[in-house]
Amino acid sequence: MTTMAFERALPAPAIDPTNKAFWEAAAEHRFLIGLCKDTGEHFFYPRGCSPFTLSNNVELVPAKGTGVIYTFTVARTKEPHAVAYVELDEGPRIMTNIVDCDLDALRIGLPVKLVWKPSQDGAPPIYMFTPA
């Protein structure tokens, strides 16, 4: 069986004062993740405090954009697509989609790499992953 990932129309992300820098980088196809400078650990999703210490000693840093599928599901809608947690090489497990692939061939542990997919109305593109 083969089910190709559907090219969904992606809703524009809601941009707020705190996440603005992340999405401005996304517009330039730069994928950033949070770094807690207290502990040296990376985190995702980006935010204005460290989820490890609650301090605001955090910054956005570039991620390699590679990782493996930690878990996933194929939403069997009229627009079949794979929602997944990808475990980045930097550590965090992040919610994303696995795109440009046969959804029936996906498995946990599969290496994946970053791709950008346009969202609607000229909003910043969305970070997604495809088999590496």
């Binding site: 992300p13 999703y45 878990t71 599901t73 939403a75 069997r76 497990r93 946990i108």
Partner: protein, 390 residues
């Protein structure tokens, strides 16, 4: 201070409707409140504590207190952890009663997602504005179904859990639902029926999912002296626990739930163990929800849930742990997309000996009701309540 024995559930009422075309959400709240008061043998003006969650319209307690004419409120609480809110409301009501802040607490839940034709499980939903995670999750297609399916997929990978094992949970629920005249799905199904139903979100099939229904339910919680003055069987709140689990910055393990913490807290307060529980209401938004919670509550070892639920082990009169004898959310009712209330109500029925005779557990003197609200693999609230029939 422990609240073990400081409060009793004296009123419990489940609305019989599953499609409320002619009632507003506020009216449903009022109807279940009245039903629970009638069940308890109390009246409106006895209520001095009111508990509701996000299913209550507007500012919840304010609009509903006005609508229902609650004039004597000295304590209110709108804790909202989604579908598990009502387990936590029982706990908070018992705490408020123990502290002398109120004497008779009303808890209500109602909604009409079926009449509103809401795409409950398969359309991305936000729970408000300025939600910090939404921009990173809504574009990804975060839905209820995909969120629970991702836990199921990883659980299968780590522990070898199978779709057939998950199907046994639906099979057990359907065996119970056949006796419930109000249940949406009364047909007994087989493992084959479940695994042959269409995939919704791999590995979950259509029959792994709960129903979408209108309706509601209500509870009355009160202090021991008042409970003992009423004519209903005495159902004591013996232990409660609550917990929140989330992505933790990206370090999440999706194979377990907050039940691990909330259950441990409830059992510690109650001074008993899972082996002592005669009946369990286990939140069943999906089959996987039940399996993971059973493990986390300690009814079996982690990873052994698949074996535990197989071969009818959850069917009343057949297995070792009768669960959701009303048919649960999988077959009976999931009002307002929030199944915690009906879990407590069926646990109270069992403790009272008032469940349907075909599914009533003999001597169900110690029962448990557990809820998971929100999204299992993303962020959720867990509430556990242990009740004892005196």
């Amino acid at each position: 201070m422990s609240i073990n024995g400081k409060a009793y559930i004296v009123g419990a009422y489940e609305h019989p409707t599953r499609k409320a075309e002619h009632q507003s959400v506020a009216q449903l709240h009022a109807e279940v409140a009245y039903g629970a008061l009638q069940d308890a043998g109390l009246s409106k003006d006895d209520i001095d504590g009111y508990f509701c969650a996000g299913d209550a319209p507007g500012l919840g307690m304010l609009n509903m207190a006005d609508y229902m004419g609650l004039n004597n409120l000295s304590h209110v609480d709108s804790t909202d952890t989604g579908g598990s809110s009502y387990q936590i409301h029982v706990a908070h009501a018992a705490e408020a009663i123990a502290m002398g802040k109120c004497n008779v607490a009303l808890i209500t839940l109602a909604g009409r997602p079926r009449s509103e034709a809401m795409a409950t499980g398969t359309a991305p939903r936000s729970w408000g504005v300025n939600v910090p995670d939404d921009p990173f999750e809504i574009p990804m297609g975060r839905t209820v179904a995909t969120a629970y399916a991702m836990s199921a997929m990883r659980h299968m990978y780590e522990y070898g859990t199978t779709s057939e094992q998950l199907a046994w949970i639906k099979v057990a629920a359907s065996h119970h639902a056949q006796h419930n005249e109000h249940a949406m799905l009364r047909k007994v199904v087989t493992v084959e029926d479940v695994v042959n139903s269409p995939l919704v979100a791999d590995p979950l099939h259509r029959l792994d999912c709960c129903v979408i229904s209108d309706g509601g339910g209500a509870l009355i919680v009160t202090r021991p002296e008042i409970a003992k003055s009423l004519k209903r069987p005495l159902v004591k709140v013996r232990g409660t626990g609550e917990a929140v689990k989330h992505q933790a910055g990206g370090t999440i393990d999706v194979t377990y739930s907050g039940a691990r913490a909330s259950g441990a807290r409830a059992f510690a307060m109650a001074g008993c163990t899972p082996a002592d529980i005669k009946y369990a209401s286990i939140y069943d938004s999906f089959t996987i929800t039940v399996l993971i919670q059973l493990e986390d509550l300690g009814f079996c070892e982690k990873g052994q849930g698949g074996k535990f639920v197989s071969d009818g082990n959850l069917i009343s009169g057949v297995g070792k742990l009768p669960f959701n004898t009303d048919g649960g959310g999988l077959c009976n009712n999931h009002p307002a997309n929030r199944g915690g209330m009906t879990k407590v109500i069926e646990a109270v029925r069992q403790a009272r000996g008032e469940a349907h005779p075909a599914v009533q557990v003999k001597n169900a003197d110690l029962v448990l009701a557990h809820g998971t609200g929100g999204l299992l693999s993303i962020r959720h609230g867990s509430g556990t309540v242990i009740l004892e029939r005196e």
